[in-house]
Amino acid sequence: MKDTRRTRVVVGSLLATALLLITLDHRSGDSPVLGPIRGVAAGAFGAAERAAASVTEPVGSFFQALAGASSAQRKIAELSAENGRLRGELTAQRLDRQRSAQLNGMLGLAGRGGYRIVPAQVIARRSAPGFEDAVEIDAGARDGIRAEMTVLNADGLVGRVVRAEQHTATVVLLSDPASSAGARLEGGNELGVVNGLGQNGSAGRFLRFRLLDSSAPLTVGHRIVSFGSMRDTPYVAGVPVGVIERVEATPGELTRTAYARPFADLTSLDVVGVVVKAPTRAPRDSVLPGGRPDPKPLKPVPSV
């Protein structure tokens, strides 16, 4: 190599620039310097992603079906009988009809809870390159979406909006390792925190639930709803989150840890809704699947 010296200067200055950018971004967030750059880039890439998503939708859904079939061998064995019945329906169903069912379910959930939502469709997803679980949706500030709003779908809580551009918005999913949401066990008033596990939780199939009271009963099958945040940002109250699948024995710890399967399938999201207005009164457990539950929970919680 004859120009090793020049190469070293170029590489060194590029690496220094990268470190400078990291430092700037780390310290200032949406600063006046980097904020507009992010905005312009998000506009350009967002437009391209919206165009590409509309073209590649059938391809993506085909592979999604393929991936779902291959990863759930155990489940397929269990549900093969039901699958046979459903397959006939599925093949007959058009993609649009499927989407309309999702939208209907979501609107039903929103109606039961009293949320006012803006429906949107997922157009892009980040898993590589990156360690964050985030998706891009095709609704933005023009549709009334702001940062720190709750996102849900027909089945339950999905995540929160972190950035809203004109026509698109970025949603960080519940399974992202950086996200944590207040949650409540159904029936009782036991509070806890739901954390994402990222790739450690087999890519969004499990969430970690920490129950703050270590003496409260916590068993498999308990369902969790969101607890809500102050002024309903970023999470509104009463959205179904998931069902406890595994309780970890943590003797001597201040909190109890359990792993929950989210109601919303965070690995293959399509139609989602952004809650632009929270209900005036928290809907408590009434939004959990199966309608309004009977007064006593699955496992009776001893009253204090």
Binding site: L21, A67, A128, P129, G130, A178
Partner: protein
């Protein structure tokens, strides 16, 4: 000039395809198309160009929505990857592509954990790296072949022993 514009367009297309198609297929591990394109371009054009292309592609990957990490993280990783891929390509082209495709995800996890990215630690490395490395290795020949077809080497000195030599 036309070549540089073509390179930029290729990276833009790779980013959009990665975000809208590959990542949405629902597989838990996916090949990193942008990284493979950077490696392929670096083996064609040498270490300096590889570093510059890697830096710019990484910056674009940092800026493409949806994003929730600090700006510059992937610029750093891909700049180093592009430089190393270009540097080793002169002597061991095949090995260079393979080493960079396998090593870059590990480097990304390392940089992420050094920068304090939440939830990036040793268990993340064990969960992500083997699958991603195998995926990248499988996808690398296809991407390198496609990129070499698009950008045939300008001088015969740059022709690598891998792939078909063009007249």
């Amino acid at each position: 000039m036309a070549r540089n514009l073509g390179t930029a367009a290729l990276i833009f297309a790779a980013l959009v395809v990665q975000m809208t198609v590959i990542n949405r297929m629902g597989f838990s591990v996916t090949p990193d198309l942008v990284l493979l394109v950077v490696i392929a371009l670096a083996t064609l054009r040498g270490e300096t160009a590889g570093a510059v292309i890697g830096f710019l592609a990484g910056l674009a990957a940092d800026l493409t929505p949806p994003t929730d990490h600090v700006l510059g993280q992937y610029a750093l990783v891909m700049c180093l990857t592009g430089y190393l891929a270009g540097r080793w390509a002169a002597r061991v082209p095949l090995l260079s592509v393979a080493a960079c495709a396998v090593g870059a995800p590990a480097l990304a996890v390392g940089v992420g954990s050094l920068l304090g990215d939440p939830g990036v630690d040793w268990s993340t490395f064990m969960a992500i790296w083997p699958g991603t490395a195998v995926c990248n290795l499988l996808a690398a020949p296809i991407v390198v072949w496609a990129v070499r077809g698009l950008f045939r080497p300008a001088r015969s000195r740059d022709v690598l022993i891998m792939g078909r030599r063009r007249p």
